[in-house]
Amino acid sequence: MKLIYTDSLVIGAGLAGLRVAIASKERGLDTVVLSLIPAKRSHSAAAQGGMQASLGNTVKGMGDDEDVHFQDTVKGSDWGCDQDVARMFAHCAPKAVRELANWGVPWTRVTAGPRQVVVNAEKVTIEEAESAHGLINARDFGGTKKWRTCYTADGTGHSLLYAVDNKAISMDIPVHERMEALSLIHDGTRCHGVVARCLITGELHAYVAKSTTIATGGYGRIYEVSTNAIICEGVGQALALETGVAKLGNMEAVQFHPTAIVPVGILTTEGCRGDGGLLRDKDGHRFMPDYEPEKKELASRDVVSRRMTEHMRKGKGVDSPYGPHLWLDITLLGRKHVETNLREVKEICENFLGIDPAKDWIPVRPTQHYSMGGIRTDKTGQSPQLKGLFSVGEAACWDMHGFNRLGGNSLAETVVGGMIIGKYVADFCQDNTLEINTGLVETFVDKVRSEIDELVEGQGTESPFVIRKEMERIMMDYVGIFRNGPELEKAVAELQELLKRSRVIGLKCKKRHANPELVEALRVKRMIKVALTVASGAAARTESRGAHAREDFPQRNDKDWLNRTLSSWPDENSLSPELEYEQLDVMKMELPPGYRGYGIDNAIAHPDTAKREQEISEILAQLGTDADRHQQQNALMPFDVPESLKPKNERLSEMLENLSAGEIAK
């Protein structure tokens, strides 16, 4: 066993983890990042569409600001998010975009003058202002009022990840590659680091640190068909769960993306629809306006996915050997647009489907995409149960996405969350000492070692690959886009059986160093527990909210369910997690629950909603008409961010106003 000490330990080298590492290193802290793979291969690279930030540079983004971004995010979350966090996020997003420009991201820029775009299947000409020329551009994305999604062609995640990793390299931040964390080291109240296994040599390492940040991404790979990279397996969430102390939040909130290609589940970006692409059925009919006349293809992702599924259930899907699918039509955008702004999509279509998307329609269907749930943290990114344990990005339930995430808010969360939480992590490291209890460390290392011994030398007979396939099928069949009581109960029961079987895995390959079967065995045992938190949470939540849609409980029930599911696993021999609920306080909300804007308004109101609305109008009346939007916001729901992130964001529109006001004064 190797023992390694550091101040700030980060698990996961995607955008969120690297951004936290940079924040730590900026403060002069010793920082180490662990990663399963080279940092630049992280799943962050796959994000194509872009990141939301209310810069308001383009003509279609004029009038945008933090307030509009905040409202879109809260509505998008179906009122499940933490509104304080959504505020912190919307406030810091423009700063993160501008910081990334300084680190080398070649954001697509505004070109002054007229340009043709496709809006609602029609070509229209928009005219960009001379004063905006060269500023950062934005495109349209689902569920947002303004064009707010900043992008670099359709390789935004790639260019962000490269810029941030380059920054980390320039700061000499070490990334220990091919190193897998398998257990947190903790004493029940404080986290002290992790036990990790080198995927090349098999050697166990104990990393002891002041702070440990889990930034391992989502848990999409518990599903059979997912847009996620194959490393998004939920092991980060399992690390927290297996402490028995730390809690996971809203694990049942799992988003399906409307347009992954069939059969492999590789994503075509929402930018396809944002730029004007249409969804068509087997008759070539554009069906989304029939269901959502206002937002059409650009309704929120959970809504579009459900409408597509409904439409296919009516027999309107295209038959294929892999089941029914629908068509995504981007031919109307023209070849030039497809070959420049949607180039990754073109490559994916050519390589995996053998089609030319400038000419042919793309076979798509909704596919598991994003994990809104994760390690429950407070606003500073710290686990309320385990001091020194932080989590950020998709791994966390911070919780700005609530029950549905808006497109362009995930990439934004990685860097914005990393920017904010990184500062709190650094604060924590400065305020706390390193505590090294070698006895405690050895206990945790021994536990992992005996787990490996048991797998390699034990009498187990189950195959980790078979168990994994079973788990993926159960999640796909019973915990999908539409859910119901009997199927969810079945999912829980079958996963519990599987959990028992996972305790008697035996390996064919007995190597202790690089051994893919051993890696699979260690992961699948943990993944099933994560899957159980998803299925159990979904079975218990008898309402529909955001991406969680119960056929037997179609109403959003604010009266009984305006809360966050917390799951923990205090008894390691148990077959199920413990569930409890954390209430959301309507009286503290800036935006009390209301109509989300899709279909019929069938929500069961919370008794406090009317009361809070009344209170808000009184507060605003008291402030008077002289108060600006910042003063109004502060009166309704004051929020905090680290000092250096507090200044207001400058915008082109304000600059122009000030300029003309100055001229008038002259």
Binding site: H43, R98, P106, V264, F352, L353, A514
Partner: protein, 247 residues
């Protein structure tokens, strides 16, 4: 959808096997057979072989979508991304898989490209060196020519798969040669108006036999690059720029 393959065809895979950590292990080619399925890629095939026939088989995949660059290997003599290589591409149904040459071998088809790329980045300082560190993120961003931004993105599409390095004869002969990947990245920063480095700074790292003057223009990098990056154009561009610094 054109995913048809010869149905029920049996594919033969000849796979390089070697575990450098097992004392006395000898490199060898091992034959496996698998029934082809519609739309099958080398990613799907290798996973099935591991799950059903040999659980010790080592290879790397991450995104399985041609985005991350982790799965480069030599397929029937050509280095390429395995995840997006359809088995239907090979009419004889015989597929030979070898690890990428030029990198440290971890085992079987898995090589340590990450270690190589990190060392290269440190050696060539492959990050933006901003003209000014004093930039305020709360203020309006500095404008940039839209055409420059688009061009930078075009050069930035490299996924560090290592194909250009393994397809380079100079690199095979001279280990210290920086390869197309390093030069492509330097060209990207040379072009970036936000980068404060001068031509002399670039000359310092690539104005020699290990850099632009070592390239023999055999085109292996450009011919095999899965992202179709214009390597030769960029190397030629840098070479001219470096020559200018000598005048």
């Amino acid at each position: 959808m054109s995913q048809e393959t010869a149905k029920g065809r049996t594919l033969t895979f000849n796979i390089f096997r070697y575990d450098p950590q097992v004392p006395g292990d000898k490199p060898k080619m091992v034959k496996y057979q698998l029934e082809e399925a519609p739309g099958m890629t080398v990613f799907i095939a290798l996973n099935r072989l591991r799950e059903e026939q040999d659980t010790s088989l080592q290879f790397d995949f991450v995104c399985r979508a041609g985005i991350c660059g982790s799965c480069a290997m030599v397929i029937n003599g050509f280095p390429t991304l395995a995840c997006r290589t359809l088995t239907a591409k090979y009419p004889k149904g015989e597929i030979n898989l070898m690890p990428l040459p030029g990198f440290e071998l971890i085992g079987d088809l898995s090589v340590n490209t990450g270690k190589f790329m990190r060392e290269l980045a440190e050696r060539l300082k492959l990050w933006l060196h901003p003209i000014s560190d004093d930039i305020d993120v709360h203020r309006l961003e500095a404008p940039m020519d839209p055409a420059e931004a688009a061009k930078l993105y075009e050069l930035e599409r490299c996924v560090e798969c290592g194909v250009c390095v393994s397809a380079c004869a100079t690199k095979q002969m001279r280990d210290t040669f920086v390869g197309a990947v390093g030069m492509m990245k330097l060209a990207r920063f040379e072009l970036d108006s936000r980068d404060g480095r001068e031509l002399e700074d670039f000359y310092h790292v690539i104005g020699n036999q290990d850099g632009v003057f070592g390239c023999m223009t055999l085109l292996g990098c450009q011919d095999n690059c899965p992202k179709d990056l214009p390597h030769m154009q960029q190397i030629a561009y840098l070479r001219r720029k470096m020559a200018v610094t000598l005048v």
